[in-house]
């Protein structure tokens, strides 16, 4: 058995790593936040509190998994599985290192965008089926936010696609092989993708769909037990996915000197995960209408101009 794209070993280890990393992020996030806020954070269970995740998992698995009698059963049960499935499927086109990946798809970038747009159903169905006004408000916000930010997310990476000349994520990494990372010519695209990524995975500061202070917990108000756990881990999976995508699209993927490729990928992706956690600690939540206005009036024109300028430069240098 050895690592090659699509081998059972490759698929199995990616699946396991991604899920374990997403679960461990619960602990990482709490420790990092407390570091920046001059607290201690969870440090009791195991060395450095590392086993906190295990304790949390045991708790979440043994909790009562309650479906409210007034909820719509089919969509209530379906909603949390959707987010897990679409994000895990998105990882199938991500090239982690030479030979490590699930599939080399010629439509990789489009596939990720398709999965991101299907992810909106998770929050919408979750909120709608709960038959609860806070949940409904949360999912209304989530739907509008995700549909809007999907647009800029797609347009912002078209510059990279044009530069690399391919929708294949592995070829996009290989196009940056000479050390010319796409973050330099596509800095605006990178910033827009970063912001849209935070909004897509509805993390703080854009966690308006689940703002505790206004609407209890938003779309997952009625969820408990493992169904809530899936929403929770799904959010961290989304964080890992966005960080991996930024690494692949703008920061040369696994490329780097001395260290093995997979280590470089892990280092770059962890940098962005830590950055997203820092964003959460540093920036307050905007108001909902501010978020939408900002998206449509600032990010959309900016991403269109970026795309047009990139296209013009590519055409003029040919």
């Amino acid at each position: 058995m050895q690592f090659e794209v699509g081998s059972a070993l490759s698929i199995g280890s990616i699946l396991l790593t991604v899920i374990v990393v997403a679960a461990m992020l619960i602990w990482v996030e709490r420790r990092l936040l407390s570091l920046w806020q001059e607290r201690l954070g969870p440090n009791r269970v195991g060395p450095f509190g590392l086993l906190q995740v295990v304790a949390d998992m045991i708790k979440i698995f043994t909790k009562e998994d309650w479906v409210p009698p007034f909820a719509d059963k089919l969509s209530f049960v379906l909603a949390p599985t959707v987010i897990m499935i679409v994000i895990l499927l998105s990882f199938s086109v991500v090239p982690f290192a030479p030979g490590v990946g699930v599939i080399d798809s010629n439509i990789g970038v489009l596939f990720v965008l398709a999965m991101a747009s299907l992810g909106a159903y998770s929050v919408m169905l979750g909120g709608l089926s709960s038959d609860n006004k806070y949940a409904l408000l949360g999912s209304l916000r989530a739907a509008a936010q995700m549909v809007s930010y999907e647009v800029f997310m797609g347009i912002s990476i078209l510059g990279v696609v044009a530069l690399a000349g391919s929708f294949n994520l592995r070829e996009i990494v290989l196009a940056q092989a000479d050390g010319s990372w796409f973050v330099i010519p596509q800095f605006i695209g990178f910033v827009i993708f970063l912001i849209a990524g935070v909004a897509e995975s509805h993390r703080l500061p854009f966690d308006i769909p689940e703002a505790e202070q206004e609407i209890v917990a938003g779309y997952h108000t009625e969820y408990s037990g493992m169904k809530f756990g899936m929403f929770f881990v799904g959010e961290y999976l989304g964080l890992v996915l966005i960080s991996s995508l930024i690494t692949v699209l703008f920061f040369g993927g696994w490329m780097g000197p001395f260290l093995p490729p997979i280590v470089w990928f892990a280092i770059k992706a962890s940098m962005f995960i830590a950055f997203f956690i820092l964003l959460r600690a540093a920036i307050p939540r905007p108001r909902y209408d501010q978020l939408m206005t900002y998206g449509w009036l600032v990010l959309l024109p900016l991403s269109l101009v970026n795309l047009m300028v990139t296209g013009a430069i590519i055409l003029s240098t040919q």
Binding site: L110, F111, L113, A114, S117, M124, L140
Partner: protein, 160 residues
Amino acid sequence: MIVLFYLAAGIALISTICVILQSNIVHALIYLILSLLAVAIIFFLLGAPFAAVLEAIVYAGAIMVLFLFVIMMLNMGQHSVDQEKSWAGPRVFIVPALMATILLAQFLNVLSDYSFDLVPTEIGVMQVSSLLFGPYVLAVELASILLLAGLVSAYHLAKK
């Protein structure tokens, strides 16, 4: 390959029938999304990955989200399910079933003249786009003008 095709086709057929028969509108919508995704898989198997992924992004990912968005705004409860049930009695299905049978007969008649030994060749994004912006550029531009008109009129109507 052929097994996947029949699986996707079966899912598309059954879920489309479920869309028609379902009286709960949210469930009907979920079946419709399932049907669209199955059609996307069929596109992919026939060698059109770009069409497949656009089907998933545009139809399943954007238009259906807007449908669901509208449904969330309308207060659909048990009463709408009951109303739908009272409307969709067996008598309603007579004429549509008749017309569907005629269509199916025509379809089978046309298909029976073809031989089925074609091997799907993959048409990539590059080939599709060079066709779209080559010989078909006029159609693309016309579609964009239509969309722009729609956008402007939607803005105007929403402002009132």
